[in-house]
């Protein structure tokens, strides 16, 4: 199993990377295809803990080795944000996500109306000066519920990303481990389980747990973790077989150290894209599962909840249903774009600024 990857890595690996779940496309044609990838070489600029290795000669700024942390973390983040901002799509994504964050924080202390205040005389109202986005069937303010919902959704998305990253990396670690039994069993398990849809997992979990946020988080985290592991495996494999991992091992580094110090930085671009895609899909999954009655419990504000409650009266008052759906769509678009732009901005191979203050 080990050698197969090197021997016919080309075809077989692409075969693997190229089987995303519908939304989880590993790369975007234009940006990824036209850019040469130096797979298997160390991505020196990620620089979390390992020293820079030889950079491909075609790059005109050779990086001297031995500068593991030439840029301070804060400065690195500032550079990444700035180059994302310069990108038109990136600016859109940053603005939307920043607004989301701010609204979620504001809703902790203030919403236009308290959630449980209902106005029985103004049911199904359109947008007006008192209720900016109108009112729903009980006369509650739609804007207030959406603002409070942004908090729940933010929580869900963060939890899903954390679970996905933890579970996915655990699987990656198992897949590239040196124990061949563990490695082949995990590869086989991922291959088989990947064809089970997330919603089935959610339904299985919903039987003992009932409608709860845990169902959404665990089901999404499990499903997307599998997907992440499958997409990241070829690159992780190349990193695991590379000379610098060998030398690290020769220096006495243990398995976890190699994983965190060498393999994770190498699969970081894939990781960023997959995680932001899973964040977007989690928002969509939340609305779907909540509508089906196995997601966020009723009474807890969330975008899926707002969408689901307004659906029942679509024939009576169609306009109320517009807002939550539009909101979800815009946020998911922003999350999907965010990953792509972040990958390009945070990768020193594509963003020369990150190579920073040495070499020039």
């Amino acid at each position: 199993m080990a050698n197969d990857d090197i021997v016919n890595g080309g075809i077989a690996d692409d075969d693997r990377t190229s089987r995303p779940r519908t939304q989880g496309l590993p790369s975007d044609g234009d940006s990824a295809a036209s850019r040469p990838r130096w797979r298997g070489l160390s991505r020196s600029g990620w620089g979390w803990s390992h020293a820079a290795q030889s950079e491909p000669a075609s790059d005109n700024a050779p990086i001297p080795s031995g500068h593991p942390r030439s840029l301070r973390p804060l400065r690195r983040i500032a550079i990444i944000l700035r180059s994302m901002w310069r990108h038109g799509e990136g600016r859109f994504a940053l603005i939307v996500l920043a607004c989301w964050l701010i609204v979620a924080l504001v809703s902790l202390v203030w919403t236009p109306y308290p959630l449980l205040v209902t106005d029985g005389y103004h049911v199904w109202n359109g947008p007006s000066a008192q209720h900016w986005l109108g009112t729903d069937g009980t006369g509650a303010d739609v804007l207030s519920w959406l603002m409070a919902g942004s908090r729940t959704n933010l929580l869900i998305v963060i939890a899903v990303v954390a679970v996905t990253a933890a579970f996915g990396l655990l699987l990656v670690a198992a897949m590239v481990s040196r124990r061949s039994a563990l490695a082949s069993v995990s590869v086989v398990a991922v291959d088989a389980l990947i064809s089970v849809p997330t919603v089935l997992i959610a339904l299985i979990l919903a039987v003992p747990l009932g409608a709860s946020i845990m169902v959404v988080v665990l089901a999404c985290g499990f499903g997307y973790g599998l997907n992440l592991a499958r997409v990241a495996r070829p690159q992780a494999m190349l990193a695991a077989r590379s000379a610098y991992v060998e030398s690290a091992r020769a220096n006495g580094a243990g398995g976890w150290r190699v994983l965190v110090g060498h393999i994770v930085p190498n699969i970081m671009p894939v990781l960023l894209v997959q995680l932001s895609l899973s964040a977007g899909t989690a928002v969509l999954a939340e609305s779907g599962l909540t509508y089906l009655g196995i997601g966020v419990p009723s009474g807890v504000p969330s975008w899926g909840h707002s969408l689901a409650t307004s659906v029942k009266f679509i024939n009576v008052f169609p306009l109320t249903v517009l807002w939550p759906g539009l909101l979800v769509t815009v946020v998911v678009v922003a999350l999907n774009i965010f990953g792509d732009v972040l990958r390009d901005a945070a990768d020193p191979l594509t963003n020369p600024e990150l190579r920073g203050d040495h070499g020039r």
């Binding site: 044609g29 919903a206 003992p208 509508y291 998911v332």
Partner: protein, 325 residues
């Protein structure tokens, strides 16, 4: 053929694993299946009788073996609520869901693949970015909302252009096939269009890679135009990958299908499953979930085999290329 046998073994193993997970998930309920099914405040004798009837007093391993043995005989259990056998229940629901999925898939392929090709072939920058934006937005619409917009646009009664029935399935089922088909058009569009965006993005990525490859350059050197070369050579080379993606799309569509069935009030598998989970009809849920999981595992298996058949490069490099999957 070694590959097929290995993949088949894997399929069985995965099915076994999922059945165990399902079984355990249903047995770690607070209380037990019988008390949940009997409902709150039911007399203890009734719970005990139900427990006896379902065989819940026996050891877990024996219960599991009974269940599996019954499944192998084709006995999927009896729904406690309706008293019908789960097998016939699922068959009736599948007659709605299966056509819906197939129609959705046709919509997705008919829209996604040509648009993906067009995105590779067109040269103007503006069009390219229009395609890009289209694919991103298309994949970001919640299925529920997409379905609602379609209802608002096209349904009879409330829609702007009243063409199709807004909700429900033809009352006579497939006996009245015209009406049955008409009631599936909007749901299939809703399911298909959302998935089409993903398919389009994928087609563009795969074909874009191939368009800059040596194969297409060679074909152009032999006198084809770029369009011809991409469509005749590139598309053929992309077919195995596209088959894989369509297979996974198939599995992923079920989430949308469940929501859409619910929204359009179609008596399909997804809708039925959600109702059964809500009603705590656990015997039915257990068998239905296993059947669905088996179905998707089977699709995954077929897709993997098909992918290998369609891509001779994977065969010439020897069986070891299968990498266990």
């Amino acid at each position: 053929m070694r590959f097929v046998i290995r993949r088949l073994l894997l399929f069985m193993a995965a099915l076994f694993g999922i059945s165990v997970c399902l079984f355990v998930a249903l047995r770690i309920l607070p209380g037990d299946v019988a008390s949940v099914m009997a409902g709150l405040n039911s007399p203890p004798e009734r719970v005990a009788a139900l427990r006896e009837q379902l065989g819940l007093n026996r050891p877990l391993v024996a219960q599991y073996c009974d269940w599996i043995a019954a499944l192998c005989r084709g006995d999927f259990g009896t729904s406690i609520l309706t008293g019908r056998s789960v097998g016939s229940l699922v068959a009736a629901r599948a007659s709605v869901t299966f056509p819906l999925i197939v129609m959705g898939l046709i919509v997705a392929m008919a829209v996604g693949i040509p648009l993906g090709c067009a995105a590779v072939l067109c040269r103007s920058r503006a069009l390219r970015s229009a395609f890009h934006i289209m694919s991103i937005i298309g994949g970001s619409v919640p299925a529920l909302w997409g379905g609602l917009l379609l209802i608002l646009l096209f349904s009879r009664g409330s829609g702007l252009i009243g063409v199709f029935p807004s909700q429900g399935f033809a009352p006579d089922g497939w006996a009245d096939s015209g009406r049955a088909l008409a009631s599936l058009v909007l749901p299939a569009l809703a399911v298909g269009l959302i998935v089409a965006a993903g398919l389009m993005r994928y087609t563009r990525a795969a074909l874009g890679d191939l368009a800059s490859s040596g194969y297409v350059a060679m074909a152009m050197a032999c006198g084809m135009t770029r369009t011809e070369a991409v469509l005749r050579v590139g598309l053929r080379l992309a077919v195995p990958q596209l088959v894989s993606v369509v297979g996974l799309t198939f599995a992923e569509m079920i989430t949308g299908v469940m929501v859409i069935e619910n929204l359009f009030a179609l008596p399909g598998i997804g809708n039925g499953l959600v109702i059964d989970v809500g009603n705590r009809d656990l015997i039915a849920v257990q068998s239905e979930l296993l059947m669905l999981a088996a179905f998707f595992l089977a699709v995954g298996f077929l897709v993997d085999v098909l992918h290998r058949l369609l891509d001779p490069r994977l065969q010439t490099s020897g069986d070891s290329a299968a990498q266990g999957g």
